[in-house]
């Protein structure tokens, strides 16, 4: 069994604000991430998939197929976007990196079989770095 990990980068803006909290609570919880006009990050996303090596190709994963899936499901919808305004999943939901990681993992998981119709490789996890010091990981088996 092998685990192949591919790293992608996209730039986006967001504002952390929960409609379930008061203005004051939002400022207290999210601090400068709650400033009204938002701010941006260069997000780094690592996608890991596991499986056996195909004897003919020497590969556990076709990188071009993964690139296409991530381009369609993550880089195009999220890159150079305002996550709050442009992404349906974040209407009324704070686009924290926890929630963003779950959304990315959910999109990849839902479209995985179309990109990789066989038994292998299987999506294992998504790791998202909002900055080099704030990093979030989610396993594919943790979500629907």
């Amino acid at each position: 069994m092998f685990r192949v990990t591919r790293r992608y980068v996209f730039a986006a803006s967001h504002r952390l604000h929960s409609p379930e909290l008061s203005e004051e609570e939002n400022r207290h919880v999210y601090g400068k991430c709650n400033r009204p006009y938002g701010h941006g990050h260069n997000y780094e996303v690592e996608v890991s998939a596991g499986g056996p090596v195909d004897a003919a190709t020497g590969q556990a994963l076709d990188v071009a197929s993964l690139d296409q899936l991530v381009r369609e499901q993550v880089l195009e919808p999220f890159g150079y976007r305002n996550l709050n305004a442009d992404v349906e999943a974040f209407r009324g939901v704070a686009p924290t990196s926890e929630n963003l990681g779950v959304e990315i993992c959910r999109r990849l998981k839902q479209n995985w079989n179309a990109a990789f119709p066989g038994e292998w490789p299987r999506l294992e996890k998504v790791r998202i770095a909002e900055t080099p010091r704030n990093i979030f990981e989610i396993r594919a088996d943790e979500i629907e």
């Binding site: 685990r3 192949v4 003919a56 590969q59 071009a64």
Partner: protein, 141 residues
């Protein structure tokens, strides 16, 4: 406890399988199938797992590990054309997966006895693509 040491080597390779057609090789490997090859600065993270020795406080002697990694990885791989100069890549496609597995095979005999065992070999082909091999077991974490 897991201890990881990193080594680097630079090598060239070409990714094409004799079992596939020219068109399939082109589709699968893209520019990596260009017949005269290309190179990478490979980075290898070798992780060993064990309990620290109560006297030395070390899981293993890092000087000894450095020598093993130099002898088993850097010396055979560095500044070589893998397909032509480093078996088994005369008949095995030198993908990052197969390189990770070959490095595991070279290292494993050194860590069969004692208080530490080989846990994982991670091979970065570029900063954006890496492979973990954990001896045939699923990689945890």
């Amino acid at each position: 406890m897991v201890v990881t040491r990193r080594v680097e080597f630079s090598a060239s390779h070409v990714c094409r399988s004799p079992e596939l057609s020219e068109e399939e090789n082109r589709r699968l490997f893209g520019a990596a199938a260009n017949p005269h090859g290309h190179g990478h600065n490979y980075v290898v993270d070798v992780s060993l797992e064990g309990d620290p020795d109560p006297v030395t406080g070390m899981v293993l002697d890092l000087k000894e590990l450095k020598e093993i990694l130099n002898r088993e990885i850097v010396e055979p791989y560095d500044h070589r054309f893998l397909n032509y100069e480093v078996p088994p890549f005369d008949h095995v496609v030198p993908t990052a997966e197969n390189i990770a597995q070959d490095i595991w095979k070279r290292l494993e005999p050194h860590f069969l006895n004692g208080r530490r065992r080989l846990r994982s070999v991670r091979v970065y082909e570029t900063p954006d693509l890496f492979v973990d091999f954990c001896g045939g077991q699923p990689c945890f974490g």
